[in-house]
Symmetry: C2
Subunit: 193 residues, 2 copies
């Protein structure tokens, strides 16, 4: 998380984990295979936040935004800085050079986007979205906003505080005015930190 995939070799990984190299290769055929296992680990943690069905679609979207920000706040606590998204970091570094990891990432990220779309679609059916807003497109927009906002926080050596606000602002921009000013978006109109 705090360094690049190519910046850390298997020798160093084994030393940090206090395992022999032979033991590593008994579990993982390659560093790519370890990367895929790490992707699955983070995906499982992420998907737990979708398990409880939301009482309303909009509260569900708001809750996902807050959960994503909480996950990132946890990373900041753990690493002492914004380290970015595990999926986004690997996608940026490996998509053009390791097609196996890229495909695994693409499928994982599509699954997460699909879960978001499963909340956006009932929101559309209940007439909660602005005219012309496609629910699948909104799910994609939220995924993109998350990845972009955490990358900007990372390059600015900022914190994860504005991430929830960035996601809530996208939700607010796409729902009917009924929900335009929720009480749960403290970062929305705050000046830049």
């Amino acid at each position: 998380m705090a360094r690049s995939y190519h910046g850390v070799g298997i020798d160093e990984l084994c030393a940090a984990a206090d395992v022999r190299k032979g033991s590593f290769y008994w579990h993982f055929a390659s560093k790519s295979e370890l990367a895929k296992a790490v992707i699955d680990l983070h995906a499982d943690a992420f998907l737990q936040h979708f398990e409880a069905p939301p009482d309303t679609p909009l509260r569900g979207l708001r809750a996902v935004a807050d959960a994503i920000a909480a996950i990132q706040a946890g990373f900041v606590s753990q690493f002492g800085q914004v380290v970015g998204c595990p999926f986004g970091n690997l996608a940026a570094e490996l998509s053009t050079t390791d097609d196996d990891v890229r495909e695994h990432l693409a499928a994982t990220m599509a699954q997460l986007e699909g879960r978001l779309a499963e909340i956006c679609r009932p929101a559309a059916e209940q007439g909660l979205l602005r005219d012309g807003v496609d629910p699948d497109q909104l799910a994609r927009m939220l995924m993109a906003q998350y990845h972009g906002a955490i990358l900007l926080a990372k390059v600015n050596a900022s914190n994860a505080h504005d991430l929830a606000g960035a996601l809530h602002a996208v939700i607010t921009a796409n729902v009917r005015d009924l929900d335009a000013r929720p009480t749960a978006t403290p970062a929305l109109n705050r000046p830049e930190a």
Copy 2:
């Protein structure tokens, strides 16, 4: 662009450029310095698209969205695949390990966001944005959407076609209904490629 920063060494760079290593170090004190020069090169190319003042703020925003997509389409033609944003790729890989490059990137990306904000602010003053939309926040949202959308296109080994649509959708969601259905957003309601 098509490989990671750590994946390409100075020896290989010198061989590709057909220059001696001593010549490289005469121009650049380190690989980081070369990275900063590459960042400046791309920033200058990017900033050219902000030189002509837009006739209206909304047309200006729409034009920037199309220009960004055109730049990415150029990269796809050049490299045969979506390689991502030069700023975003370096930010993802180096922000936590090379503070010098990170600061250079952060300043460059803030400059680009500032140019976007210079279009968003008159849009707000002219009452073109939805109630409650902060123009600086909209500039940030567009920057984040760009970085996230191009990362998703990269991990999906997709193309740059949907990038314009992703940016136009964010603009549309934040402006008054007057502009809600522009004619210049062909990718908006297209099914996934």
